[in-house]
Protein backbone atom coordinates (compact mmCIF):
# COMPACT_ATOMS: atom_id res chain seq x y z
CA UNK A 1 0.00 0.00 0.00
CA UNK A 2 1.16 3.48 -0.80
CA UNK A 3 1.11 6.13 1.91
CA UNK A 4 -0.71 8.52 -0.38
CA UNK A 5 -2.24 7.97 -3.75
CA UNK A 6 -4.20 10.67 -5.54
CA UNK A 7 -6.58 9.89 -8.37
CA UNK A 8 -7.26 12.79 -10.70
CA UNK A 9 -7.47 15.06 -7.69
CA UNK A 10 -9.07 18.31 -8.82
CA UNK A 11 -10.18 21.51 -7.16
CA UNK A 12 -11.91 24.42 -8.82
CA UNK A 13 -12.64 27.73 -7.14
CA UNK A 14 -15.31 29.66 -9.05
CA UNK A 15 -14.12 28.31 -12.37
CA UNK A 16 -10.44 28.74 -11.53
CA UNK A 17 -8.50 25.46 -11.69
CA UNK A 18 -6.45 25.43 -8.51
CA UNK A 19 -5.55 21.76 -8.77
CA UNK A 20 -5.90 20.03 -12.12
CA UNK A 21 -6.19 16.24 -12.22
CA UNK A 22 -3.17 15.53 -10.06
CA UNK A 23 -1.93 11.95 -9.79
CA UNK A 24 0.83 11.30 -7.34
CA UNK A 25 1.86 8.26 -5.38
CA UNK A 26 3.88 8.65 -2.23
CA UNK A 27 5.72 5.59 -0.95
CA UNK A 28 5.74 4.66 2.70
CA UNK A 29 8.69 6.01 4.60
CA UNK A 30 9.73 8.59 2.06
CA UNK A 31 10.03 12.33 2.33
CA UNK A 32 8.08 13.77 -0.53
CA UNK A 33 8.52 17.42 -1.46
CA UNK A 34 5.94 19.65 -3.09
CA UNK A 35 7.53 22.66 -4.71
CA UNK A 36 5.78 25.45 -6.46
CA UNK A 37 5.40 29.18 -6.73
CA UNK A 38 2.63 31.01 -4.91
CA UNK A 39 -0.80 29.97 -6.01
CA UNK A 40 0.52 26.85 -7.71
CA UNK A 41 -1.84 24.68 -5.72
CA UNK A 42 0.47 23.20 -3.08
CA UNK A 43 -1.58 24.27 -0.11
CA UNK A 44 -4.81 23.34 -1.84
CA UNK A 45 -3.50 19.81 -2.39
CA UNK A 46 -2.44 19.57 1.24
CA UNK A 47 -5.81 20.91 2.40
CA UNK A 48 -7.63 18.27 0.39
CA UNK A 49 -5.38 15.48 1.64
CA UNK A 50 -6.00 16.68 5.20
CA UNK A 51 -9.77 16.68 4.49
CA UNK A 52 -10.12 20.39 5.21
CA UNK A 53 -11.26 20.98 1.63
CA UNK A 54 -13.43 18.69 -0.45
CA UNK A 55 -12.12 17.98 -3.95
CA UNK A 56 -14.29 19.12 -6.86
CA UNK A 57 -13.63 15.79 -8.51
CA UNK A 58 -11.27 12.87 -8.12
CA UNK A 59 -10.12 11.61 -4.76
CA UNK A 60 -7.11 10.31 -2.88
CA UNK A 61 -6.22 7.51 -0.53
CA UNK A 62 -4.31 8.57 2.54
CA UNK A 63 -2.96 5.68 4.60
CA UNK A 64 -5.45 3.56 2.64
CA UNK A 65 -8.47 5.66 3.59
CA UNK A 66 -10.49 7.63 1.08
CA UNK A 67 -10.38 11.36 1.82
CA UNK A 68 -13.94 11.90 0.61
CA UNK A 69 -15.66 8.87 2.10
CA UNK A 70 -13.64 8.29 5.22
CA UNK A 71 -12.26 11.63 6.44
CA UNK A 72 -12.35 10.65 10.09
CA UNK A 73 -9.88 7.78 9.61
CA UNK A 74 -7.71 10.00 7.43
CA UNK A 75 -7.54 12.60 10.18
CA UNK A 76 -6.46 10.05 12.74
CA UNK A 77 -3.66 8.85 10.45
CA UNK A 78 -2.10 12.22 9.78
CA UNK A 79 -0.25 14.95 11.61
CA UNK A 80 -0.08 18.48 10.28
CA UNK A 81 2.16 21.44 10.81
CA UNK A 82 0.49 24.42 9.22
CA UNK A 83 2.26 27.20 7.47
CA UNK A 84 0.77 29.77 9.83
CA UNK A 85 1.07 29.62 13.59
CA UNK A 86 -1.69 27.56 15.18
CA UNK A 87 -0.77 27.11 18.82
CA UNK A 88 -2.71 28.72 21.63
CA UNK A 89 -0.28 31.17 23.16
CA UNK A 90 -2.30 31.63 26.34
CA UNK A 91 -1.70 28.02 27.23
CA UNK A 92 1.60 26.42 28.16
CA UNK A 93 3.43 24.22 25.72
CA UNK A 94 2.39 21.15 27.62
CA UNK A 95 -1.26 22.21 27.78
CA UNK A 96 -1.26 22.60 24.02
CA UNK A 97 0.00 19.05 23.66
CA UNK A 98 -2.47 17.67 26.20
CA UNK A 99 -5.32 19.30 24.41
CA UNK A 100 -4.15 17.81 21.14
CA UNK A 101 -4.00 14.37 22.76
CA UNK A 102 -7.58 14.84 23.99
CA UNK A 103 -8.83 15.90 20.59
CA UNK A 104 -7.18 12.93 18.90
CA UNK A 105 -8.22 10.46 21.54
CA UNK A 106 -4.72 9.36 22.54
CA UNK A 107 -5.25 6.70 25.26
CA UNK A 108 -4.85 8.36 28.64
CA UNK A 109 -2.30 5.88 29.91
CA UNK A 110 -0.01 6.55 26.95
CA UNK A 111 -0.60 10.28 26.87
CA UNK A 112 1.97 11.35 29.42
CA UNK A 113 4.84 9.30 28.07
CA UNK A 114 3.99 10.26 24.52
CA UNK A 115 4.05 13.96 25.39
CA UNK A 116 7.40 13.55 27.15
CA UNK A 117 8.74 11.78 24.13
CA UNK A 118 7.80 14.46 21.62
CA UNK A 119 8.92 17.26 23.93
CA UNK A 120 12.21 15.50 24.22
CA UNK A 121 12.55 15.21 20.47
CA UNK A 122 12.19 18.94 19.91
CA UNK A 123 14.21 19.79 23.03
CA UNK A 124 11.43 21.67 24.77
CA UNK A 125 11.10 19.53 27.90
CA UNK A 126 12.54 22.16 30.21
CA UNK A 127 10.35 24.94 28.81
CA UNK A 128 7.13 22.96 28.53
CA UNK A 129 5.41 24.60 31.49
CA UNK A 130 5.89 28.12 30.22
CA UNK A 131 3.24 30.01 28.33
CA UNK A 132 3.67 29.77 24.58
CA UNK A 133 3.43 33.57 24.54
CA UNK A 134 6.98 33.63 25.88
CA UNK A 135 8.33 31.26 23.24
CA UNK A 136 10.49 32.40 20.34
CA UNK A 137 9.30 31.75 16.80
CA UNK A 138 11.63 28.78 16.47
CA UNK A 139 10.32 27.28 19.70
CA UNK A 140 6.73 27.69 18.56
CA UNK A 141 7.50 25.86 15.37
CA UNK A 142 9.19 23.09 17.32
CA UNK A 143 6.17 22.86 19.59
CA UNK A 144 3.94 22.55 16.55
CA UNK A 145 6.08 19.74 15.21
CA UNK A 146 5.92 18.03 18.58
CA UNK A 147 2.17 18.48 18.67
CA UNK A 148 1.70 16.96 15.24
CA UNK A 149 3.43 13.80 16.52
CA UNK A 150 1.54 13.33 19.79
CA UNK A 151 -0.97 10.91 18.29
CA UNK A 152 1.74 8.95 16.41
CA UNK A 153 0.52 9.67 12.90
CA UNK A 154 1.52 7.53 9.94
CA UNK A 155 1.87 10.51 7.65
CA UNK A 156 3.15 13.92 8.54
CA UNK A 157 2.33 17.04 6.53
CA UNK A 158 4.73 19.91 6.90
CA UNK A 159 3.52 23.03 5.16
CA UNK A 160 6.50 25.37 4.89
CA UNK A 161 7.89 24.19 8.22
CA UNK A 162 10.80 26.60 8.33
CA UNK A 163 9.27 29.70 6.77
CA UNK A 164 10.39 32.87 8.48
CA UNK A 165 12.87 31.13 10.76
CA UNK A 166 16.49 32.06 11.23
CA UNK A 167 19.07 29.65 9.76
CA UNK A 168 19.89 28.17 13.13
CA UNK A 169 16.29 27.27 13.95
CA UNK A 170 15.97 25.89 10.46
CA UNK A 171 18.93 23.59 10.98
CA UNK A 172 17.38 22.41 14.24
CA UNK A 173 14.12 21.56 12.55
CA UNK A 174 15.89 19.71 9.77
CA UNK A 175 17.75 17.62 12.28
CA UNK A 176 14.50 16.74 14.10
CA UNK A 177 13.00 15.64 10.82
CA UNK A 178 15.98 13.44 10.06
CA UNK A 179 15.86 11.99 13.54
CA UNK A 180 12.19 11.22 13.12
CA UNK A 181 12.80 9.37 9.92
CA UNK A 182 15.36 7.19 11.60
CA UNK A 183 13.25 6.23 14.60
CA UNK A 184 9.65 6.19 13.37
CA UNK A 185 7.72 4.48 10.69
CA UNK A 186 6.66 7.73 9.10
CA UNK A 187 6.00 9.27 5.71
CA UNK A 188 6.53 13.01 5.34
CA UNK A 189 5.00 15.38 2.82
CA UNK A 190 6.75 18.68 2.77
CA UNK A 191 5.97 21.89 0.96
CA UNK A 192 8.67 24.45 0.85
CA UNK A 193 10.04 27.51 -0.83
CA UNK A 194 13.55 26.69 0.16
CA UNK A 195 15.33 24.65 -2.48
CA UNK A 196 18.03 23.77 -0.04
CA UNK A 197 15.42 22.24 2.21
CA UNK A 198 13.96 20.11 -0.55
CA UNK A 199 17.41 19.13 -1.75
CA UNK A 200 18.61 18.06 1.67
CA UNK A 201 15.52 16.33 3.00
CA UNK A 202 13.42 14.96 0.19
CA UNK A 203 13.69 11.58 -1.48
CA UNK A 204 11.50 12.81 -4.28
CA UNK A 205 10.23 16.17 -5.34
CA UNK A 206 7.17 17.14 -7.34
CA UNK A 207 7.18 20.53 -9.00
CA UNK A 208 3.74 22.04 -9.27
CA UNK A 209 2.71 24.90 -11.47
CA UNK A 210 -0.79 26.08 -12.36
CA UNK A 211 -2.29 23.17 -10.47
CA UNK A 212 -0.39 20.52 -12.43
CA UNK A 213 2.64 18.38 -11.74
CA UNK A 214 5.28 19.51 -14.20
CA UNK A 215 8.12 17.31 -12.92
CA UNK A 216 8.50 14.53 -10.40
CA UNK A 217 11.71 12.76 -9.48
CA UNK A 218 14.53 12.54 -6.99
CA UNK A 219 16.26 15.92 -6.59
CA UNK A 220 19.47 14.41 -7.97
CA UNK A 221 17.85 13.01 -11.11
CA UNK A 222 15.96 16.23 -11.71
CA UNK A 223 19.22 18.09 -11.70
CA UNK A 224 20.80 15.47 -13.93
CA UNK A 225 17.95 15.63 -16.40
CA UNK A 226 18.40 19.33 -16.64
CA UNK A 227 21.98 18.55 -17.50
CA UNK A 228 24.88 20.84 -17.90
CA UNK A 229 25.66 23.92 -15.97
CA UNK A 230 24.26 27.36 -15.53
CA UNK A 231 25.63 30.68 -16.66
CA UNK A 232 24.07 33.66 -14.95
CA UNK A 233 24.66 36.99 -16.61
CA UNK A 234 23.56 40.40 -15.48
CA UNK A 235 23.47 42.89 -18.34
CA UNK A 236 22.13 46.37 -18.96
CA UNK A 237 19.72 45.06 -21.56
CA UNK A 238 18.47 41.66 -20.46
CA UNK A 239 15.61 41.24 -22.98
CA UNK A 240 17.86 41.91 -25.97
CA UNK A 241 20.60 39.71 -24.58
CA UNK A 242 18.15 36.88 -24.00
CA UNK A 243 16.91 37.19 -27.56
CA UNK A 244 20.42 37.05 -28.95
CA UNK A 245 21.34 34.04 -26.84
CA UNK A 246 18.21 32.24 -27.97
CA UNK A 247 19.00 33.04 -31.61
CA UNK A 248 22.54 31.79 -31.28
CA UNK A 249 21.30 28.41 -30.06
CA UNK A 250 24.19 27.84 -27.68
CA UNK A 251 22.00 27.44 -24.60
CA UNK A 252 19.68 24.56 -23.95
CA UNK A 253 17.32 26.97 -22.26
CA UNK A 254 17.50 30.60 -21.25
CA UNK A 255 15.18 32.75 -19.18
CA UNK A 256 15.18 36.05 -17.37
CA UNK A 257 15.18 35.54 -13.62
CA UNK A 258 14.84 38.77 -11.72
CA UNK A 259 17.54 41.12 -12.96
CA UNK A 260 19.60 38.38 -14.54
CA UNK A 261 19.58 36.08 -17.53
CA UNK A 262 20.03 32.44 -16.64
CA UNK A 263 20.98 29.91 -19.26
CA UNK A 264 21.58 26.22 -19.08
CA UNK A 265 24.48 25.03 -21.20
CA UNK A 266 26.44 21.85 -21.80
CA UNK A 267 29.69 23.18 -20.51
CA UNK A 268 29.86 26.62 -19.03
CA UNK A 269 33.59 27.08 -19.22
CA UNK A 270 33.98 26.45 -22.93
CA UNK A 271 30.93 28.50 -23.86
CA UNK A 272 31.84 31.52 -21.81
CA UNK A 273 33.88 33.27 -24.56
CA UNK A 274 30.97 32.85 -26.97
CA UNK A 275 28.56 34.40 -24.49
CA UNK A 276 30.89 37.34 -24.06
CA UNK A 277 31.24 37.88 -27.77
CA UNK A 278 27.46 37.78 -28.33
CA UNK A 279 27.13 40.55 -25.78
CA UNK A 280 30.00 42.53 -27.21
CA UNK A 281 28.84 42.31 -30.82
CA UNK A 282 25.41 43.60 -29.85
CA UNK A 283 26.75 46.38 -27.71
CA UNK A 284 25.31 44.95 -24.49
CA UNK A 285 27.19 45.86 -21.35
CA UNK A 286 27.76 42.95 -18.98
CA UNK A 287 27.69 43.86 -15.30
CA UNK A 288 28.43 40.49 -13.81
CA UNK A 289 28.70 36.89 -14.79
CA UNK A 290 28.81 33.66 -12.80
CA UNK A 291 28.98 29.93 -13.47
CA UNK A 292 27.22 27.25 -11.48
CA UNK A 293 26.75 23.55 -11.12
CA UNK A 294 23.03 22.75 -11.48
CA UNK A 295 20.89 23.57 -8.45
CA UNK A 296 17.38 22.53 -7.69
CA UNK A 297 16.55 26.21 -8.12
CA UNK A 298 17.45 25.89 -11.78
CA UNK A 299 15.34 22.80 -12.17
CA UNK A 300 12.47 24.78 -10.83
CA UNK A 301 13.14 27.72 -13.08
CA UNK A 302 13.42 25.42 -16.04
CA UNK A 303 10.02 23.84 -15.48
CA UNK A 304 8.01 26.85 -14.37
CA UNK A 305 9.84 29.73 -16.04
CA UNK A 306 9.84 31.52 -12.72
CA UNK A 307 12.27 31.82 -9.89
CA UNK A 308 11.00 30.32 -6.69
CA UNK A 309 12.16 33.14 -4.52
CA UNK A 310 10.01 35.73 -6.21
CA UNK A 311 7.30 35.43 -3.62
CA UNK A 312 7.60 34.64 0.04
CA UNK A 313 4.82 32.99 1.93
CA UNK A 314 1.15 33.52 1.38
CA UNK A 315 -0.07 36.98 2.26
CA UNK A 316 -1.94 36.97 5.50
CA UNK A 317 -4.58 39.51 6.27
CA UNK A 318 -5.57 41.13 9.52
CA UNK A 319 -4.36 39.75 12.78
CA UNK A 320 -2.67 36.78 11.24
CA UNK A 321 -0.29 39.15 9.49
CA UNK A 322 0.36 41.05 12.67
CA UNK A 323 1.00 37.82 14.48
CA UNK A 324 3.45 36.60 11.92
CA UNK A 325 5.31 39.89 11.90
CA UNK A 326 5.46 39.77 15.65
CA UNK A 327 6.69 36.22 15.69
CA UNK A 328 9.37 36.93 13.18
Amino acid sequence: MKAIETKDLTKKFNGFMAVDHVNIGVEQGEVFGLLGPNGAGKSTIISMLCTILKPTSGTALVNGYDIVRDPSHVRKSIGIVFQDPSVDDRLTGRENLEMHADLYGVPENEMKSQIEKVLDLVELSDRSNEFVRNYSSGMRRRLEIARSLVHTPKILFLDEPTIGLDPQSRDHIWSYIRQLLKSEDLTIILTTHYMEEADKLCNRVAIIDHGQIVALDAPGSLKEKLGGETITVKTRNNPLFLKMIQQSGIARSAVIAGSEVKMTVESAHTLLPQVMSIAASNGIFIESISLQEPQLDDVFLHYTGRALREGGGKELSGLGAIMRRKIR
Partner: protein, 252 residues
Amino acid sequence: MSELRGILSLWKREIMRYLRDRTRVASSFFQPLLWLVIFGTGLGSSIRVGVGMNYQEFIFPGIIGQTLLFTSMFMGISLIWDRQFGFLKEILVAPISRISIFIGKMLGVSTDSMIQGMIVMLLGFLIGIRITLPMVLEVVPLMVLITLGMACIGLTLASFMDSLESYGTIMTFVNMPMFFLSGALFPVYNLPAWLQWVVYIDPLTYGVDALRAIILGSAHVSPFPFYMDLAIIIAFDGFMILAGTYAFSMRK
Protein backbone atom coordinates in the same frame (compact mmCIF):
# COMPACT_ATOMS: atom_id res chain seq x y z
CA MET B 1 -16.18 8.62 24.01
CA SER B 2 -13.50 10.50 22.15
CA GLU B 3 -16.04 13.13 21.13
CA LEU B 4 -16.90 13.70 24.78
CA ARG B 5 -13.25 13.97 25.68
CA GLY B 6 -12.78 16.53 22.91
CA ILE B 7 -15.72 18.58 24.16
CA LEU B 8 -14.39 18.56 27.71
CA SER B 9 -10.96 19.56 26.49
CA LEU B 10 -12.28 22.53 24.51
CA TRP B 11 -14.45 23.53 27.45
CA LYS B 12 -11.51 23.40 29.81
CA ARG B 13 -9.46 25.53 27.47
CA GLU B 14 -12.02 28.35 27.41
CA ILE B 15 -12.17 28.44 31.19
CA MET B 16 -8.39 28.40 31.58
CA ARG B 17 -8.04 31.26 29.14
CA TYR B 18 -10.75 33.19 30.91
CA LEU B 19 -9.41 32.75 34.42
CA ARG B 20 -5.90 33.68 33.35
CA ASP B 21 -7.13 37.00 32.10
CA ARG B 22 -7.18 38.73 35.46
CA THR B 23 -8.14 42.16 34.16
CA ARG B 24 -11.29 40.73 32.67
CA VAL B 25 -12.34 39.02 35.85
CA ALA B 26 -11.64 42.22 37.78
CA SER B 27 -13.51 44.39 35.32
CA SER B 28 -16.55 42.17 35.65
CA PHE B 29 -17.22 43.80 39.02
CA PHE B 30 -17.16 47.25 37.64
CA GLN B 31 -19.93 47.53 35.09
CA PRO B 32 -22.69 45.91 37.14
CA LEU B 33 -21.73 48.07 40.11
CA LEU B 34 -22.09 51.13 37.96
CA TRP B 35 -25.57 50.10 36.91
CA LEU B 36 -26.73 49.00 40.31
CA VAL B 37 -25.28 51.76 42.42
CA ILE B 38 -25.07 54.85 40.22
CA PHE B 39 -27.86 54.24 37.71
CA GLY B 40 -30.05 52.46 40.25
CA THR B 41 -29.70 55.14 42.90
CA GLY B 42 -30.02 57.99 40.47
CA LEU B 43 -33.10 56.86 38.64
CA GLY B 44 -34.49 55.08 41.66
CA SER B 45 -34.77 58.33 43.59
CA SER B 46 -37.43 59.53 41.18
CA ILE B 47 -39.45 56.49 40.09
CA ARG B 48 -41.52 53.82 41.73
CA VAL B 49 -41.78 50.39 40.19
CA GLY B 50 -44.10 48.59 42.57
CA VAL B 51 -44.91 47.95 46.14
CA GLY B 52 -42.40 46.36 48.50
CA MET B 53 -39.20 47.02 46.59
CA ASN B 54 -37.04 49.88 45.52
CA TYR B 55 -35.70 50.52 42.02
CA GLN B 56 -32.30 49.00 42.72
CA GLU B 57 -33.89 45.77 43.80
CA PHE B 58 -36.09 45.87 40.74
CA ILE B 59 -33.21 46.16 38.27
CA PHE B 60 -30.93 43.71 40.10
CA PRO B 61 -32.27 40.61 38.27
CA GLY B 62 -32.16 42.66 35.09
CA ILE B 63 -28.48 43.41 35.63
CA ILE B 64 -27.77 39.72 36.15
CA GLY B 65 -29.52 39.07 32.84
CA GLN B 66 -27.55 41.87 31.22
CA THR B 67 -24.28 40.44 32.49
CA LEU B 68 -25.12 37.01 31.09
CA LEU B 69 -26.03 38.55 27.75
CA PHE B 70 -23.07 40.90 27.44
CA THR B 71 -20.49 38.36 28.57
CA SER B 72 -21.84 35.66 26.27
CA MET B 73 -21.90 38.00 23.33
CA PHE B 74 -18.46 39.30 24.13
CA MET B 75 -16.99 35.82 24.47
CA GLY B 76 -18.41 34.87 21.09
CA ILE B 77 -15.49 36.87 19.80
CA SER B 78 -13.19 34.07 20.92
CA LEU B 79 -14.29 32.12 17.86
CA ILE B 80 -13.11 34.90 15.55
CA TRP B 81 -10.01 35.25 17.66
CA ASP B 82 -9.22 31.56 17.20
CA ARG B 83 -9.79 31.87 13.49
CA GLN B 84 -7.51 34.89 13.20
CA PHE B 85 -4.73 33.38 15.24
CA GLY B 86 -4.89 30.09 13.44
CA PHE B 87 -5.79 27.95 16.42
CA LEU B 88 -9.18 27.11 14.94
CA LYS B 89 -7.40 25.20 12.18
CA GLU B 90 -5.85 22.88 14.72
CA ILE B 91 -9.31 22.09 16.09
CA LEU B 92 -10.95 21.79 12.69
CA VAL B 93 -8.55 19.13 11.40
CA ALA B 94 -8.85 17.05 14.55
CA PRO B 95 -10.93 13.88 14.25
CA ILE B 96 -13.83 15.42 16.13
CA SER B 97 -17.15 16.55 14.71
CA ARG B 98 -18.11 20.15 14.13
CA ILE B 99 -21.02 19.66 16.48
CA SER B 100 -18.69 18.69 19.30
CA ILE B 101 -16.47 21.69 18.63
CA PHE B 102 -19.47 23.98 18.78
CA ILE B 103 -20.77 22.37 21.97
CA GLY B 104 -17.34 22.67 23.59
CA LYS B 105 -17.16 26.34 22.69
CA MET B 106 -20.70 26.94 23.86
CA LEU B 107 -20.08 25.32 27.22
CA GLY B 108 -16.89 27.33 27.61
CA VAL B 109 -18.52 30.64 26.82
CA SER B 110 -21.49 29.79 29.04
CA THR B 111 -19.20 28.97 31.95
CA ASP B 112 -17.40 32.28 31.58
CA SER B 113 -20.74 34.09 31.63
CA MET B 114 -21.86 32.07 34.63
CA ILE B 115 -18.78 33.13 36.57
CA GLN B 116 -19.52 36.76 35.75
CA GLY B 117 -23.19 36.31 36.57
CA MET B 118 -22.38 34.73 39.94
CA ILE B 119 -20.15 37.66 40.79
CA VAL B 120 -23.05 40.06 40.12
CA MET B 121 -25.35 37.83 42.13
CA LEU B 122 -23.03 38.15 45.11
CA LEU B 123 -22.94 41.91 44.69
CA GLY B 124 -26.64 41.86 45.52
CA PHE B 125 -25.86 42.22 49.21
CA LEU B 126 -24.61 45.76 48.51
CA ILE B 127 -28.12 46.88 47.68
CA GLY B 128 -29.76 44.88 50.42
CA ILE B 129 -30.83 41.72 48.60
CA ARG B 130 -31.05 38.80 51.03
CA ILE B 131 -29.33 35.93 49.30
CA THR B 132 -30.47 32.58 50.63
CA LEU B 133 -29.36 29.07 49.78
CA PRO B 134 -32.71 28.01 48.24
CA MET B 135 -32.61 31.17 46.14
CA VAL B 136 -29.12 30.35 44.85
CA LEU B 137 -30.15 26.76 44.10
CA GLU B 138 -32.99 28.03 41.96
CA VAL B 139 -31.20 30.96 40.36
CA VAL B 140 -28.07 29.09 39.23
CA PRO B 141 -29.81 26.52 37.02
CA LEU B 142 -31.99 29.27 35.61
CA MET B 143 -28.89 31.33 34.80
CA VAL B 144 -27.40 28.34 33.02
CA LEU B 145 -30.49 28.04 30.86
CA ILE B 146 -30.49 31.73 30.02
CA THR B 147 -26.77 31.74 29.24
CA LEU B 148 -26.78 28.80 26.83
CA GLY B 149 -29.08 30.59 24.41
CA MET B 150 -27.13 33.84 24.67
CA ALA B 151 -23.79 32.06 24.14
CA CYS B 152 -25.19 30.50 20.98
CA ILE B 153 -26.28 33.89 19.63
CA GLY B 154 -22.71 35.15 19.92
CA LEU B 155 -21.13 32.03 18.46
CA THR B 156 -23.64 31.88 15.61
CA LEU B 157 -22.88 35.45 14.60
CA ALA B 158 -19.16 34.83 14.99
CA SER B 159 -19.43 31.81 12.70
CA PHE B 160 -20.32 34.12 9.84
CA MET B 161 -17.63 36.68 10.48
CA ASP B 162 -13.92 37.05 9.93
CA SER B 163 -13.03 40.34 11.47
CA LEU B 164 -13.07 41.42 15.07
CA GLU B 165 -14.20 44.90 14.10
CA SER B 166 -17.34 43.85 12.30
CA TYR B 167 -18.20 41.49 15.12
CA GLY B 168 -17.84 44.38 17.55
CA THR B 169 -20.29 46.44 15.54
CA ILE B 170 -22.85 43.68 15.24
CA MET B 171 -22.46 42.90 18.92
CA THR B 172 -23.63 46.40 19.86
CA PHE B 173 -26.59 46.02 17.53
CA VAL B 174 -27.65 42.87 19.32
CA ASN B 175 -26.69 43.72 22.88
CA MET B 176 -28.39 47.05 23.28
CA PRO B 177 -31.85 46.26 21.89
CA MET B 178 -31.93 42.92 23.69
CA PHE B 179 -30.98 44.57 26.95
CA PHE B 180 -33.31 47.57 26.71
CA LEU B 181 -36.26 45.54 25.48
CA SER B 182 -35.91 42.82 28.09
CA GLY B 183 -37.59 44.90 30.77
CA ALA B 184 -34.38 44.87 32.77
CA LEU B 185 -34.74 48.56 33.53
CA PHE B 186 -38.52 49.08 33.47
CA PRO B 187 -41.66 47.05 34.06
CA VAL B 188 -43.07 45.58 30.85
CA TYR B 189 -46.77 45.83 31.69
CA ASN B 190 -48.43 49.16 30.94
CA LEU B 191 -46.25 49.65 27.86
CA PRO B 192 -47.80 50.93 24.63
CA ALA B 193 -48.87 48.01 22.47
CA TRP B 194 -46.19 48.38 19.79
CA LEU B 195 -43.41 48.37 22.38
CA GLN B 196 -44.94 45.52 24.30
CA TRP B 197 -44.93 43.49 21.13
CA VAL B 198 -41.15 43.86 20.60
CA VAL B 199 -40.52 43.22 24.26
CA TYR B 200 -42.32 39.89 23.93
CA ILE B 201 -40.07 38.89 21.02
CA ASP B 202 -36.92 39.46 23.06
CA PRO B 203 -35.91 36.10 24.58
CA LEU B 204 -34.13 37.85 27.42
CA THR B 205 -37.49 39.24 28.62
CA TYR B 206 -38.45 35.80 29.88
CA GLY B 207 -35.08 35.26 31.52
CA VAL B 208 -35.28 38.54 33.40
CA ASP B 209 -38.87 37.86 34.37
CA ALA B 210 -38.03 34.41 35.73
CA LEU B 211 -35.03 35.77 37.63
CA ARG B 212 -37.26 38.42 39.18
CA ALA B 213 -39.84 35.89 40.17
CA ILE B 214 -37.22 33.97 42.14
CA ILE B 215 -35.17 36.83 43.56
CA LEU B 216 -37.95 39.31 44.41
CA GLY B 217 -40.59 36.74 45.20
CA SER B 218 -44.08 38.07 45.82
CA ALA B 219 -43.02 41.70 45.43
CA HIS B 220 -42.69 41.11 41.72
CA VAL B 221 -45.84 41.24 39.64
CA SER B 222 -44.97 38.91 36.81
CA PRO B 223 -46.56 39.37 33.39
CA PHE B 224 -46.00 35.69 32.59
CA PRO B 225 -46.42 32.52 34.61
CA PHE B 226 -43.07 31.04 35.69
CA TYR B 227 -43.53 27.79 33.75
CA MET B 228 -44.12 29.79 30.60
CA ASP B 229 -40.88 31.73 31.11
CA LEU B 230 -39.05 28.45 31.54
CA ALA B 231 -40.65 26.83 28.52
CA ILE B 232 -39.77 29.75 26.29
CA ILE B 233 -36.18 29.90 27.54
CA ILE B 234 -35.67 26.18 26.98
CA ALA B 235 -37.26 26.31 23.54
CA PHE B 236 -35.02 29.23 22.64
CA ASP B 237 -31.93 27.34 23.87
CA GLY B 238 -32.85 24.35 21.75
CA PHE B 239 -33.43 26.46 18.71
CA MET B 240 -30.19 28.41 19.12
CA ILE B 241 -28.09 25.29 19.69
CA LEU B 242 -29.41 23.87 16.43
CA ALA B 243 -28.99 27.14 14.56
CA GLY B 244 -25.48 27.65 15.94
CA THR B 245 -24.30 24.14 15.18
CA TYR B 246 -25.68 24.47 11.69
CA ALA B 247 -24.03 27.85 11.09
CA PHE B 248 -20.71 26.63 12.43
CA SER B 249 -20.78 23.40 10.43
CA MET B 250 -21.62 25.18 7.21
CA ARG B 251 -18.74 27.57 7.56
CA LYS B 252 -15.63 26.48 5.66
